[in-house]
Symmetry: C2
Subunit: 355 residues, 2 copies
């Protein structure tokens, strides 16, 4: 492998064990086994079990395989919303999920935040069937306050709560009792190549989808919740999935279990980055309050256009993210994932000081 | 790699160069590069260009990335059909696409074949907007006669023709001028790990999707044809795709271009298998006529339950496919893909004789 270190917010640095796991995958014929074989069923079952353990997901939740977190947005729209949902928009990705509801001709609503500051209101229309919250907005580095999430969950017990945990888990702890569904993709905090999404749902979600069918609504086809559930209960999938990625995810979960979740959730690496953002004259943290500062995607405003800085770091073999969308040239985004060692983050901070 | 040889009809034997390509992918940081980077754009552009060359796809066709061929069925239903399509069903997979139309509450129709014999009729209702044909039914080993396909294409110039080329290309030559859209997954004749589908469409398909939007119909979200087209024209994708698989596909296409398409389309390996099916007393080819005998998924009926034979071969390190669905224990399915060498097929035939 080259000496580059990727601090991009996903795809990002691969977990350090990936090369060895790929070698083992070839030896174990993972690329050739049938998705209908008992070898696959065993692999899928163990992945689900260990993921539940790693993330403290209650037993009664289901874990389904998607191709991306983007796909999960569409499946939520198809399966869990009939007329309207409400979306807390704190950046481009939460905005895009909201946009999907319009493409599906729903009457969804949104609270659009100012991105760098806490939302001003947490009220929402009574008729929303589902509340969408993005725990860690990868585009802005906005961390949604889990206390607010708990308050929303308590205030609206009849509404489904969908939590986008892309670029958060397993580095950020999530209390699943507050939510009905959550989803992520593996190229962020799990340090895998892209091409796999994970969708976690509870029984209320399945009931909602079944009710839509009773009401003669279309809920999609192979990736409808009832189809996913029927297959997953047999440790199978409705289509041939990305088996190699499921294998790699299982191995990295095992590695993380061995390392210990507390080591993975170590916050001091983020502190190093935010301290640099505070102390350096040409940078300042984009988030105003500590509560909203993401621990995994650390975003800073740059005094001038970011390209000179990006090029300076690239010449040292350090690849960081530019800003997203409207912030493309004004921000830098630095991933602080479990794959990034403290030494690597310290090296980056050193170069930020040398710039 | 272990000494097993997979003749399963996909996932199957990996193309022999895959281990080296995986090593190179790690060295080139393919698992870490952003899907918004110029490195990705270059990769995607080259893959599309070389695939067009390998399969003789006319320039005006678009190539889009899906997660599976199963996904393409849903995208065709969403984008290309408003009320009704007609499906030639020659096995479980063509049947499943037809089932998807019912889940989307369309009034589609089907000609259900007897699986082992040529369809008796090629007529269809006048109001079908799209004709679905499966060139190579992986579940039964039925090859659709391309002369019939050409006749249908000539007879119904205003209907879109969707051709399932899963487990056919690049081993089977396809005249794209007869069809409007085609699709496949990479774990069959390309010898890749599963987790990527390819969707090929022409301008008539894009027009159809745009017309649905004008008529206020839902065509999906991130994977609608207009969204795919807008991104692909910039060599980008609507979501983070399976970049590693795109890389592997590009490398295997290059390998196949070097080897030469005529070598890959060599039919003599299939002849060896069908001769064995004819000559052995406990086997007979499932297809009645030569025209319908697949060159890539060779299916035989077994005198008795197939499990003893499967176990005998497995003990020699040869993994072949059991029957699909209703034929599970009555058939064997042997993949004859470009990844399978003549020597490997001869070894399998030898053991079929020794059984």
């Amino acid at each position: 492998m080259s000496s580059k270190i990727f601090f991009t917010p996903g795809p990002s640095q691969l977990y350090h064990t990936i090369p060895q796991h790929l070698k083992n995958a070839l030896r174990e014929n993972i690329g050739s086994i049938s998705h209908r074989s008992s070898a696959f069923q065993k692999l899928f079952a163990e992945m689900k079990e260990r993921l539940k353990d790693l993330l403290s997901i209650p037993d009664e939740y289901d874990i389904f395989l998607m191709s991306s977190a983007t796909e999960v947005w569409e499946r939520i729209v198809q399966n869990l919303i009939t007329k309207s949902s409400h979306h807390f928009v704190n950046g481009s990705f939460s905005k895009r999920f909201y946009d999907f509801t319009k493409l599906y001709q729903l009457q969804s609503t949104a609270t659009i935040g100012t991105h760098s500051k806490e939302f001003e209101s947490f009220d929402l229309p009574e008729n929303s069937e589902l509340i969408s919250i993005t725990l860690n907005e990868t585009s802005t580095g906005y961390a949604f306050d889990q206390k607010r999430l708990k308050a929303l969950s308590n205030k609206y017990p009849d509404k489904l709560i969908a939590l986008d945990v892309v670029s958060a888990v397993p580095a950020v702890s999530v209390d699943f009792s507050m939510i009905d569904t959550a989803y992520f993709s593996v190229q962020k905090c799990f340090g895998l190549p892209s091409g796999l999404g994970i969708w976690i749902t509870n029984e209320q979600c399945l009931d909602r989808a079944k009710q839509k069918v009773v009401n003669n609504k279309v809920i999609g086809s192979y990736h409808s919740l009832p189809s996913l559930k029927k297959n997953s209960d047999k440790n199978q999938t409705p289509e041939t999935p990305n088996i190699l990625s499921i294998y790699l995810l299982l191995q990295v979960i095992k590695d993380m279990q061995t390392r210990g979740i507390e080591m993975i959730r170590n916050e001091t690496k983020a502190t190093l980055l935010y301290q640099a953002f505070e102390n350096l004259s040409y940078l300042r943290p984009f988030m105003m309050s500590k509560t909203n500062k993401s621990l995994t995607v650390c975003v800073a405003e740059v005094d001038q256009d970011n390209h000179d800085l990006l090029n300076f770091l690239a010449a040292k073999g350090l690849v960081i993210g530019e800003g997203y969308g409207e912030y493309e040239s004004q921000h830098i985004r630095v991933a602080n994932f479990p794959a990034h060692s403290r030494e690597q983050v310290e090296m980056l901070v050193d170069y930020l000081h040398k710039y």
